[in-house]
Symmetry: C2
Subunit: 705 residues, 2 copies
């Protein structure tokens, strides 16, 4: 499924840093798809040679035109292909013959349309690979690298000027989406480094592009619009590389809902993994998931200021007490702490203005009109006294009032200078000029304070991720662990043997094939006991009465054996009976469920949840990609809603969380080691006993593939 | 606690439609608090007489000034008081002497500051009431009525022109918050009708102002910023009046979180009810609760277009397939349906453009660049074919491109004309002029499609509320119902008698005071039985072993009686023992919890939740203000997360929801009838049996006050 591809970036370089560019299908009309890229390249000041390819003209937009690519008597680094779908194959073959380093196909009419298109796409991809030409698209909207004057696109969205140069890099499968983001960035005056759209990604995919952009020294913040993932290992490696380089990655995943996923299937030829799985992947890899374009832009903007707060405490200062309360509400909803200012700082603030609320939020009140200069020392006191990693100052429309704001500006400047390590927001109605001026001082400017606080909470998460140790390794799988073989369903007895071999504790048990043997085993294990029928043909034992609980004597064991055989005979005649399982009856503890499922995209995913209504009614479960270490297991355990059950409710003792962590990590290591032979594992229930007493699997099932 | 006040609006009229205005503390300086209102009234073209009161000047801002209010030789309707706190009492007394119809106090330094301020506030309020002068404030930021040229405020936020005239009315306790909203509305060119800030609301409060604004014929959408509620009955009546008039009410409640509530206590002198309670009140009264300023403005804007969608189905059309998927995701997250277009409509769309996705979202693709006119007929087909109550058309930056957009405009105009009953959104990057032009055609314009979809879901909810029958009445309390007396804690036996008298079914039971009597009662009720110790001094019976389950014989009843007496003696020596309760042991069914708690603001609130972990770990409960009818009870039952338990999980039969509905409504009627004698009722568990078999209370406790 994965084609081999070097990851050193050589295959992507020409699309973002081309030394020269030819356009096959070059048009003299600046508004045509083959004409716009030429106009934009010149508008942006591209310095390399541009070779229009157009057999019908000598000159295109003032540039010498060539009848064929071959006719260009110099090295051609990148070729832009803007011809009808049926002519693309010939163009790609020409690229191969010329030995170019990248072919970017704008043309649509391929896999996104129908089967014939899919076949045509396969042929151009094959031609590119055979010719060793990396191919971007088809059906892509091009690439940008503002520093290099590269605007290789046909969009109508850029009219007068290229986007601003900056540190935000962007990849998008969807071309129009990518362009929309670029236009929005220009609107907000966000600075971009490089952007790339992958379209149908028949060759170069989003993961490969992302890996390149992560390595780019000019790119410090990465935004990705993702529909489906083709090369998961490369994607995950790029995420981790970004974390190590302290470059935040913000993802918008398309196709979250049922209707969305349907649209995805008909839009780009991509396979959308289930949303819960992708959510788990992003969480495990410290990627921020945005749910709207606005949120994506807000977080990217906040990240681009490069002040990641040192803690989750936020200071709030306001000219409206009411908005102060709202900000406190919103900060807590975003998971930030509105910590109270120390008494001494409160005293100083009250000295400045006796009316002021001083605890945090600090309320400057309407006094700001008559004594505007008060806000400076109060803001300073908030920051000096509170040790907040970030702060939001709400000044409503004051930034629109020249006189009033003029008196405040020097104060704001001083505060920013004194606290360059904090993330500082001015929440203000401000003109673009004022905004730019404040940003120059180091402030983020947000009109809506709620959006600022949400962005701050993203920054705090990134900071945590940057400071965290690299992901821990999973425990080693014991050397004697039993391997999963293809084509099996392992019954409870076999499954638990395999789990035990992988280091996962199971209730003491024995398989007996006669009533007499059952009695012997029962006396060895001790009472009370559970007795269960064991058969690869009976998967839901309890439904046929195949489980006897609370067996307390030799006599009951003997009778029980007969009863189980009877029931199997009655309800599942002809089933292969492996015998009767006798197991220690586990008393007390908290019922949990551990599981493994093989995701078609990401491979074995480990699931954790609490038993009973938590899983059956509330679907309160969480996933991680296997394998993983103890910290990740602990994050899983703590993120389910029913976590309180493990801490102990209504006087119950806290459960042995460490034993659960160990079981999850060992299960993840075992699952990962089985390769694609493993389809699923269910450990249900997995009983977690009180702290210090361990945990054990009571029932289990393993399915192979 | 509630002062009497007419609700005919006479007390509010002068603040919003004054015939003449005097300003005590009038200043010649246009930037002072006593100077700004004069400047603004003239800027807005106020037509009535303005009387500056300033003993030091003959003329103020070109107007004749008077040394005292008494010196004005004409009727004064409204007085604005802008003097230091210590001079306000005299000013209010002057208002009383003059017989004015409203005194609006800008001055701060009252209950929001300290105890001395609180005392001063009580004195000015008393003076106003004695003089029969309605008082707004103190510490308020004034009122607006743009149609009447009324800009009675001291804010610095209005610089050049009054806000636009329109249909959005606004009330806010917080002055600065209210002003911020008005400035934002001006920024977005939203039209306002009238706005009022209540500040410390020592006399006229937000509820009274809201009631007035709801009745205003020019006001069609109402926005309220609420911190604490002083007069709940009037607030609820205003909400219901608005619903009957089909006027949406949108509320932002401040003080949601712990930190927020702390700030509220120190900011305005108001009592913030618990957030869960207020949430229930809003839900019960069909009020939309916004959680940010932006959301508040978005929903108010959408409402002001007065096209409330006829259903929750939304049509999506886009020039970017990727954004189409995102919109589908966001629509479903907002609770809207992205229904598939009928096959015939899909066929027509495919005929127009074979590449297009046609199911909904409809994707016009990049073809919009070369064939812009396609979007018109495709949009038309989407609306004609799909029967969607609303639609969003995403056109990214196209509205910025004069040529391209010029070709689209006539199409958009026709679509809007043909579908005036739908709520239509253009999601576009548009200049203010383009925006206004599109709005003139009937479109809502949102840059971010996600925000548009959220607003649409609010419109759908309003439409439902407008069409709904008026709230159903609660059932009558049976004539023989036992009343709750002050100063009691009713034990299980008494409480269940009272519940039975209120028509709430309870498990069959008897109280026995000897072992012999217990045997007689047991034989009457039938086995199996539960036996419980009954004592007003023992509230948590099970903790002392005071509950015996599964009692199966006369012998066990006799032994059980002795055991219970023993345990009571051992664990609660000296407790008053009422006897032993024998009750039918209920088999099967779903455990729920019914409760009543008296909220200090809203009175008796009924709670519903599922038993076990749902209430203990997940706090999965919901509230309604008593009394209420069956529809409201059903909404409660269906909004808890564990509702599936009642529908039947893992093969369990569905529970008797009707019996539960009846019990909830009867409980609500009974609770409401007890006045403030009732403190709380706990019915835990209340077992809901399978459909057709009813439901019954198994344990209960009633506390009075």
């Amino acid at each position: 499924m994965f084609h081999s591809a070097s990851t050193d970036g050589a295959r992507v370089r020409a699309f973002l840093k081309p030394r020269s560019i030819a356009i096959i299908g070059a048009s003299a009309d600046e508004t045509k798809i083959g004409g716009r890229p030429i106009r934009y390249l010149r508008l942006a000041g591209y310095q390399g040679p541009i070779y229009p390819i157009n057999p019908g003209r000598e000159v295109v937009q003032g540039l010498k035109s060539y009848p064929t690519l071959q006719a260009v008597d110099a090295e051609v680094d990148l070729v832009v292909i803007a011809v009808p779908a049926q002519d693309v194959l010939a163009a790609v073959e020409a690229c191969a013959a010329k030995g170019v380093n990248g072919a970017m196909v704008f043309s649509s009419g391929f896999a996104e349309v129908d089967e014939a298109g899919r076949a045509l796409q396969a042929r151009i991809t094959e031609a590119a690979r055979k010719g060793n030409v990396p191919l971007l698209g088809p059906n892509c909207a091009g690439t940008f690298n503002v520093r290099e004057g590269l605007l290789a696109t046909f969009t109508s969205g850029i009219i007068d000027k290229p986007p601003r140069i900056g540190s935000i890099g962007m990849v998008s499968q969807s071309g129009a989406f990518g362009i929309h983001m670029i236009v929005l960035a220009a609107e907000r005056e966000l600075g971009l480094s490089m952007c790339l759209t992958t379209g149908n990604q028949s060759d170069v995919d989003l993961s490969e592009a992302l890996a390149y952009i992560v390595e780019d020294p000019e790119t410090e913040v990465i935004v990705a619009i993702i529909e489906g993932v083709i090369n998961p290992p490369r994607l995950l490696a790029a995420f981790e590389a970004a974390r190590r380089k302290r470059k935040p990655v913000i993802v918008l995943k398309l196709g979250r809902s049922e209707a969305g996923a349907r649209a995805a299937a008909s839009h780009t030829a991509s396979l959308a993994g289930s949303d819960e799985i992708f959510e788990a992947i992003l969480r495990q890899n410290n990627v921020y998931r945005a749910h709207s374009i606005e949120e994506l832009m807000d977080v990217a903007y906040a990240c681009s200021l490069k002040r990641f707060p040192i803690n989750d405490k936020v200071g709030l200062i306001t000219v409206s007490g009411g908005v102060g309360i709202l900000m406190a509400d919103q900060a807590e909803a975003a998971g930030l702490q509105v910590a109270e200012l120390p008494a001494e700082s409160q005293r100083v603030i009250k000295e400045l203005l006796p009316f002021a609320a001083a605890r945090n939020p600090v309320d400057v009140t309407a006094q700001v009109i008559t004594h505007p200069q008060l806000i400076g020392p109060m803001f300073e006191q908030l920051l000096t006294g509170g040790g907040f990693g970030s702060a939001v100052c709400f000044i409503t429309h004051i930034a629109r009032n020249k006189d009033l704001f003029g008196k405040l500006l020097p104060h704001f400047e001083e505060v920013a200078r004194n606290h360059a390590d904090r993330f500082l927001v001015l929440s203000a109605l401000a003109s673009p000029e004022t905004r730019k001026h404040l940003e120059g001082m180091g402030y983020a400017v947000f009109e809506d304070p709620g959006r600022a606080l949400k962005a701050i909470s993203a920054l705090v998460k990134f900071r945590h991720a940057f400071e965290a140790a690299p992901p821990e390794t999973a425990p080693a799988v014991p050397s004697g662990a039993l391997a999963v073989q293809h084509g099996h369903t392992y019954d409870e007895f076999q499954a638990k043997k395999m789990l035990l071999s992988a280091g996962i504790p199971c209730a003491a048990e024995s398989l007996a094939t006669s009533a007499q043997a059952a009695v012997v085993e029962a006396e060895r294990i001790g009472f009370p006991l559970v007795m269960k029928i064991v058969s690869p043909d009976i998967q839901h034992k309890s439904e046929i009465g195949g489980v006897l609980l609370n067996v307390r004597s030799v006599q009951e064991v003997r009778e029980g054996y007969a009863t189980l055989m009877d029931r199997a005979e009655t309800h599942a005649p002809g089933a292969r009976i492996a015998g009767v399982l006798l197991a220690q009856q586990v008393q007390g503890g908290v019922e949990t469920i551990l599981g493994v499922m093989r995701d078609p995209v990401y491979g074995p995913m480990v699931m954790f949840g609490l038993g009973g209504v938590f899983v059956e009614v509330l679907k309160d479960v969480t996933f991680r990609r296997a394998p993983f270490g103890p910290s990740e297991a602990r994050r899983m355990i703590r993120e389910v809603k029913g976590y309180a059950m493990l801490q102990g409710v209504r006087g119950a003792p806290p459960a042995d969380e460490d034993a659960l962590v160990q079981a999850l990590t060992r299960l993840s290591a075992y699952a990962a080691a089985q390769g694609d032979a493993l389809e699923s594992i269910d450990v249900n229930p997995f009983i977690v006993l009180p702290k210090g007493r361990g945990a054990l699997a009571v029932d289990a099932l393993i399915q192979s593939n």
